[in-house]
């Protein structure tokens, strides 16, 4: 059995030999690639702390076996900023106090980026809350998180309009 896989992680192609087919994407990122921004909360699909984008879609990395994702394009929190410039979603989380302890925050931000890409929420706070319900926050920073996602959506909409003009 060939247990090596190729992943593109934050734009960089990586060839990886897996010791065992049991390795999840979450453990691979954290333990093999030292990308510890992606957090392990429950490790069972309940909390969203491990959210990453796989081929552009937000997913729980704790339930995804690495071996079945050979060839995937992965974006983690480490790959979100553009050099020293924060992504609008990151900036909005800071502007709106979208966190307290910060443990859930990488997952929240990746989930928010995924939500905005899905284009289903827009600027309706109820749709944003529903769209973010897969990310729990033990500190209860939900009000700030919702504000941050709404602002990021507005900022991206405005940037898009500017580009179109």
């Amino acid at each position: 059995m060939n247990l090596s896989i190729t992943l593109t992680v934050n734009g960089r192609e990586r060839m990886l030999a897996l010791p065992d087919p049991r390795v999840t994407l979450l453990d691979l990122l954290r333990d093999r690639l030292d990308l510890t921004g992606t957090k392990k909360g429950c490790d069972r699909g309940h909390c969203g702390a491990c959210t990453i984008l796989v081929d552009g879609r937000r997913t729980n990395s704790c339930l995804a076996l690495a071996i079945s994702h050979d060839g995937a394009d992965i974006l983690t929190i480490e790959g979100v900023a553009h050099g020293d410039t924060l992504d609008p979603v990151q900036a909005a989380f800071i502007a709106h106090d979208g966190f307290q302890c910060g443990y859930c925050t990488p997952g929240q931000i990746m989930s928010a980026i995924g939500l905005i890409r899905e284009g289903q929420a827009g600027t309706d706070p109820e749709r944003v809350r529903e769209g973010m319900s897969g990310n729990l926050c033990r500190c209860g920073a939900y009000a700030g998180i919702t504000e941050a996602v709404l602002e990021a959506q507005r900022a991206l909409d405005a940037a898009e309009q500017e580009q179109a003009a």
Partner: protein, 346 residues
């Protein structure tokens, strides 16, 4: 997690052959199976990854108005397919009320059908569970069982089936297409899941190695699209399994009900089609009195399996409310909180 061999077949016959061996299991997205493996509840010795099998990822709109959904279609992709949501809005609403956006992006429709019960004792390997270990006993009897079944349960097992998606599928006569070692066959979804009886370890009609290829919703069922809803009561507004849910579809003609479709979720070990209630509605005017009579008929055989008598009256009320919503008409856009009673009017 136990050790296992990992195989990724490239054709359906290869997959079926590989999965027919004792101890083998299919892997789709793994959102249920990997979770169960981490808990030691599922211990397959071989995983047959079907995630890249060709031909199982399409949503096909059939000439008769029906839809054929490949087993590997992701829950989110099906729910957001505009043509699908137009023909089967209650199915889309049920999908969007399940799990979280992250999980729906990964989870496949075939895996959704085969997800295992959320009975806490089934998930705790230190507890006795007839489903996990035939003959061991059932710690849910006399335990924490307020969320357990009120219909179709047996002395041996009182668990429920957790899927939202399967509830409207049962109501709207979905067909499951499967491939096995001896060929293909069609199984009506209504018969696909088994009640526990004496053998709670047997959960579906699938034989070992049989692979789900697709689901079909018949074109005739699209006739309910103008009056079809899914309603789900859970213990928080979002991202929770159903306490009780209902799918309701009405075909109205001249102010009367020409035909009805009804199924309940969270009440039994299978999505519960309420045929007697459907029959009771035919010819009636769509009003609360008629809906209440139908709800009585649907729950006639219900009895508590523990501290869950409340679910019987809750189920009646959910049915009445789902029918009321269906009669009022399918909303043009899915509400912000799909299938939630708190979204009504939104």
């Amino acid at each position: 997690m136990n050790r296992f061999d990992y195989i990724r077949p490239t054709t359906i016959p290869e997959a079926v052959a590989a999965a027919s061996a004792p101890g083998a299991a299919y892997l789709a997205a793994g959102t249920n199976l990997v979770d169960l493996m981490k808990g030691g509840i599922a211990r397959p010795s071989r995983l047959v990854d079907v995630g890249r099998l060709p031909g199982l990822s399409a949503i096909e709109h059939l000439p008769d108005g029906g839809v054929r959904i490949g087993a590997l279609v992701r829950n989110a992709d099906l729910a957001y397919d505009p043509g699908f949501a137009r023909r089967f809005p209650a199915v889309a609403e049920a999908l969007l009320s399940g799990a979280s956006a992250q999980l729906r992006n990964a989870a496949t429709v075939g895996g959704n059908l085969l997800q295992r019960t959320r009975c806490a004792y089934f998930h705790d390997v230190a507890s006795a569970c007839n489903k996990r270990e035939p003959g061991a006993g059932c710690d849910a009897r006399g335990g924490e069982n307020r969320l357990h079944a009120v219909l179709g349960w047996s002395e041996g097992c009182i668990a429920t089936h957790p899927s939202d998606f399967c509830v409207p599928l049962a109501a709207f006569n979905a067909i499951v297409e499967v491939a096995g070692a001896t060929g293909h066959r069609d199984i009506p979804l209504e018969e696909f899941h088994l009640l526990p009886g004496e053998t709670p370890e047997r959960e579906t009609l699938l034989a070992p190695g049989e692979l789900i290829l697709a689901l079909r919703l018949p074109g005739t069922e699209a006739a309910f699209a103008a009056h079809a809803r899914y309603l789900k009561v859970r213990e928080r507004t979002s991202y929770a399994f159903a306490v009780v849910s209902a799918a309701a579809g009405l075909r109205l003609d001249g102010g009367r009900i020409a035909e009805a479709r009804l199924a309940l979720g969270g009440v039994a070990l299978k999505p519960w089609r309420a045929r007697a209630a459907e029959a009771a509605l035919v010819g009636a005017t769509p009003d609360e009195a008629a809906f209440r009579l139908a709800a009585e008929a649907a729950l006639e055989a219900a009895r508590p399996s523990g501290d869950n008598a409340f679910k019987i009256e809750l189920a009646r009320r959910i049915l009445v409310r789902a029918l009321t919503l269906a009669a009022a008409g399918t909303p043009a856009r899915m509400p912000a909180l799909p299938a939630s009673p708190f979204a009504i009017g939104a």
